[in-house]
């Protein structure tokens, strides 16, 4: 029963949405839009589920004193603080009816002074790891690696003015040898062809996977069978 009901719902909704896409008449005409609205409503409840799950996982970790449990305490404290500031609009200049994200609100201050620097710092670390990895791993060991290396080098150089300074002497019929032009060619031709091929491949994969889910062949999304 716990597996049959979701399978039937998936079959009906999936089939109706496919029909609605190709039959723009009643009763199918605006079913796709109606289902999108239902999706938006369900998405709101997903926040409650997500929040509840976060609290459950971290409380378990703290109560059992698992490894790194103090981090869980920090997570829960941060969650409670931001939730209170956002939900009850504590420290909000416009009060309970005002926008919570305005400059000067507690929620915005937490966002700007804590969340923003933390997230930006995490992302900025990438620059250091890219530098280190490029030195250690970017070696011309094989033909394929050499092609990748040359392409990366041209793109890097082409994205800076130094590329033009170095190869600006190529003019007339040799202008294509200027590094920025080579970089643009790599992006516009081999990269674009590769990206398009990947996109078409993904689209075909999505179609086949959707059909498998609608027809009940693929059932892993239902989780483990505990019936």
């Amino acid at each position: 029963m716990r597996r049959t009901v979701p399978l039937v719902i998936t079959l009906i909704v999936g089939t109706v949405l496919i029909v609605a896409e190709f039959v723009p008449h009643k009763p199918f005409g605006n079913l796709g839009d109606k289902f999108s609205m239902y999706f938006d409503i369900i998405a709101v409840f997903a926040f409650i589920l997500g929040g509840g799950n976060l609290v459950r996982v971290h409380i378990t970790k703290i109560s059992r004193k698992k490894a790194d449990w103090p981090f869980s305490a920090v997570t829960l404290a941060g969650f409670a603080l931001v939730l209170a500031a956002g939900l009850f609009k504590i420290g909000n200049p416009g009060g309970i009816r005002g926008d919570v994200a305005v400059v000067g609100s507690l929620f915005n201050d937490l966002y700007i002074f804590i969340f923003t620097p933390l997230q930006a710092s995490m992302f900025a670390l990438l620059a250091f790891y890219v530098g280190s990895a490029s030195y250690r791993a970017f070696r011309a060991k094989t033909v394929e690696a050499t092609i990748l290396l040359v392409a990366a080098f041209v793109i890097l150089l082409g994205r800076t003015p130094f590329g033009l300074w170095l190869t600006g002497g190529f003019t007339g019929s040799w202008e294509f040898l200027q590094v920025p032009n080579l970089a643009n060619w790599i992006m516009d031709v081999p990269n674009l062809a590769g990206q398009r091929a990947i996109m078409i491949g993904i689209a075909l994969g999505v179609i086949s996977m959707s059909l498998r889910i609608i027809l009940g062949v693929e059932r892993t999304y239902l989780g483990q069978d505990n019936d």
């Binding site: 839009d33 999108s36 998405a43 009816r97 400059v103 490029s134 890097l156 150089l157 992006m187």
Partner: protein, 299 residues
């Protein structure tokens, strides 16, 4: 034992496995020094950016532009300069700006943009008649689908809870087809791709985008048929700022955020290229030594 082992390593071997903290220092200096000195790098505007700029430039006064803030603090350093430049241009063109967010983290950045760019630089721009902050709504691409059919179904109130029917610039808005242009900022999901697939294509609405440099290659296939233009990373932002400076002389001499970032990016690119070259030179030296050693051992 460990020391004894390292003593037998040649200089080339040791350099190949240099402590990565040394590389970190070089990268850090390459990024920080240009920013500290405020050096700027002017970029020539490429066609993919220029067509975007020209499209906004060609919009008649009072055109409706939907700006979707689909990004967060992680990518804000790259994307915010584009947002600022486009908001400035829209304000110069007297377009009506409708700001919203598909990402929860984009909501606060909308407020920041209004406070830091729109209010101080365009004090005549009035909330409710010239611009509106609609805030964040859940639903991702599902939200876009609904907006295409019924905008007020999902945005019955603005970010501060005011009924949109009481806001003058919302009076004639029924769905996304009432907008002259949609601009999405952010290369993640949902973002530019979703705006193209669920609004631009089915509604025949022009869509433009600004995204991080790493996301740009994934979005190039949509240009020029499904995207009017694309700004990729700090370079895209700097190119747009250059177009803005060329069109609006009041910005001449101003050090804009994207241009400042480009100097840092250019120097760090050069440092990374140096390390790639240096690493490969060491690799080839090592390889030739290993070859000659194995040949000697074979004799």
């Amino acid at each position: 034992m460990g020391n004894g082992h390292t003593e037998h390593k040649t200089l080339v071997e040791r350099l190949q496995f240099i402590d990565r903290r040394i590389i970190f220092v070089f990268i850090g200096l390459a990024v920080v020094i240009p920013l500290l000195f405020g050096a700027v790098l002017k970029e020539e505007t490429t066609p993919i950016v220029q067509t975007f700029f020209d499209t906004i430039e060609g919009l008649p006064e009072g055109s409706r532009v939907l700006l979707s803030f689909d990004y967060g603090p992680t990518t804000a350093p790259e994307i915010q300069p584009m947002v600022d430049a486009i908001v400035r241009q829209c304000a110069h063109r007297k377009s009506k700006m409708y700001m919203m967010a598909l990402w929860a983290t984009g909501d606060n950045l909308t407020g920041e943009t209004i406070e830091k760019v729109l209010k101080p630089e365009f004090p005549d721009y009035k909330y409710g008649t010239d611009y509106i902050n609609l805030g964040y709504q859940t639903g991702n691409q599902g939200l876009i689908r609904v907006l295409l059919v019924d905008f007020k179904m999902m945005y019955a109130v603005d970010a501060s809870g005011t009924d949109v029917d009481s806001i003058p610039m919302m009076k004639n808005i029924r769905n996304l087809k009432n907008f002259d242009l949609i601009v999405s900022f952010g290369g993640g999901s949902p973002g530019i791709k979703e705006w193209v697939l669920y609004a631009g294509d089915p509604g025949k609405i022009p869509v433009g985008g600004g995204c991080t440099a790493v996301s740009a290659p994934l979005l190039y296939p949509y240009y020029p048929n499904q995207l009017i233009g694309l700004l990729g990373g700090a370079k895209g932002a700097a190119e747009y700022e250059n177009a803005l400076i060329n069109a609006y002389p009041e910005y001449k001499g101003r050090k804009m955020a994207g241009m400042k970032l480009m100097m840092s990016q250019a120097v760090s690119h050069v440092v990374i290229m140096f390390f790639i070259l240096f690493g490969n030179i060491l690799y080839f030296i090592q390889r030739s030594r290993d070859k000659s050693r194995s040949m000697e051992a074979g004799r």
